[in-house]
Symmetry: C2
Subunit: 307 residues, 2 copies
């Protein structure tokens, strides 16, 4: 009995996570290191190479490595075009830098694409052919799966759903656009708006708001519903554009609980074409914080099987 | 030398247009009748059947018939689920009603999908694999072509791009959503807003505004640029979601000239990710008012070749 294994790596702003999985999605090993302070290209590259070497030593059955990275990944040219959380990363040839030290097949992919792939394979999206993934955390990331395939667009940038605008006259987003959904739900703006809505300057993390809501604080409940309605309104535009079967929502803020999802679903019921509102499923992601690394490992299997 | 021909029909609110084309897209016949007043299902069906019979008599080489219809077309079930400009049309089995009287292979498709297919085959979209089509006229219709294929979504409703919202707090659209791009650019609202912007209650058609703009009326120019910027802002969200190579814009209001397109392009340059703004092409449709019927005929060829 032969077991093919794949290694997936999820490069994040604070940590680099790695998993080794088998073809059924079972996690055989997992390892995590801090992202090097300063996030210099060479330091990050070395940390990734060390992770790969350390896991490959234990698991020689690994057939490929997938690496999920934030930002715009040019899958063809194998570079990070830019990455909002990695200052100075412009057209970084990360694939080449790693391949100079690692002989395993390697593929680079956007981290939210990895998250959505994982949920599609083994999580909340398993039964759907056409789905959108939204990862609501530090920022708001998105991914598009059509006909069971990741849709990457004409230059590898499709699925930047956090930069769909809900208000063309809204506040400016660092990306250059106005009223982006990320500008209301990304953690920094979520906290800023929560402080105002709850009149409480002590709020420093989204889970404080969900705790207050769980304790019955009506302002906290209303705030979470409101953030859900804003995200849900963006979902309505995406439903009209993509007609997906499901929208899978993950990331830290998706842990905010029932009021947040109630707001999302209410916006869809009230605003989308009725036939589509009844058709689309909104689901909470199931695979937790390992989804990105698991999805990267799926990409690793694909790359490995090309040889 | 055998010539395969196809018959395409474009069902509109005021006219039903039909063309017979060959495989190079040359129009061999064209015919147009008024849409029966009242738009009753039986009357419309009979008018379409009469058009098919009359053209088939002259052109026995026709291998299939494509019919483009406004509204949500359920391609699988071959019905019109609903159609905003055809009051009372709910789940109309148009395919079956026509097939009872016509033996040729027949396929039903959304009319804006037909428009985009035609532009993709022989018009402004010919060189692009991934494109969005927007038809800005009575309403704002949309279509999505990915990897050279029409993308219909999970229930045949993808590409309802006129009901992408640019302002979740904006005016209510008859579709149920708020701030839809159609609510600013559909002809009725275009005229209403133009009357206000130009302080002129005599305006009753978009081309009056373009005439004024062509004569140098600064308010008319500014108004057209503004409408372009609103449409362009919706395009920015679509660019971030789909990463298309091109956006093809047709329909009556797309004839408004240079200021309108300048507004669209300015919004994209100012708001989209710079790498995507530089990458995407915004083009005016080329095939004019026959695009819908030509695209329907492309669908006719596809249906005919299935036999």
């Amino acid at each position: 009995m032969s077991h093919k294994l794949s290694l997936g790596i999820d490069l994040g702003g604070t940590a680099i996570k790695a998993v080794v999985i088998d073809e059924s999605g079972n996690i055989l090993n997992s390892l995590q290191v801090d992202t090097p302070p300063g996030r210099a290209v060479n330091d990050v590259t070395q940390a990734i190479v060390d992770l790969i070497n350390s896991l490959y030593r234990d698991r020689p059955g690994i057939v490929g490595v997938g690496l999920g990275s934030p930002g715009l990944v040019d899958e063809g040219r194998k570079i990070i075009r830019f990455s909002p959380n990695f200052p100075g990363w412009q057209n970084v040839p990360l694939w080449k830098l790693i391949k100079e030290q690692v002989s395993l097949p390697l593929a680079l992919e956007n981290d939210v694409n990895c998250f959505a792939l994982a949920e599609h394979h083994w999580g909340a999206g398993r039964t759907f052919k056409h789905l959108l993934g939204l990862a609501v955390g530090t920022g708001v990331g998105g991914a598009v799966i059509l006909n069971d395939q990741l849709y990457r667009g004409s230059s590898g940038a499709a699925g930047e759903l956090g930069h769909v605008s809900v208000d063309l006259w809204g506040p400016k987003c660092p990306c250059g656009n106005f009223g982006c959904v990320e500008r209301y739900l990304g953690v920094q703006w979520f906290i800023e708006a929560a402080r105002e809505a709850l009149d409480d300057d002590q709020i420093s993390a989204p889970d404080q708001v969900s705790s207050l809501a769980a304790q019955g604080n009506q302002n906290a409940i209303a705030f979470l519903e409101n953030r859900g309605e804003i995200l849900g309104s963006a979902c309505v535009s995406l439903i009209h554009a993509f007609d997906p079967e499901a929208i899978i929502i993950g990331g830290g803020i998706a842990q905010s609980g029932e009021p947040f999802f109630r707001g999302i679903k209410r916006a869809i019921q009230e605003r989308a074409y009725p036939v589509l509102a009844d058709h689309v499923q909104v689901r909470s992601a199931k695979l937790g914080t390992s989804a990105g690394a698991i999805g990267a490992a799926i990409i690793g299997f694909e790359t490995g099987s090309l040889l």
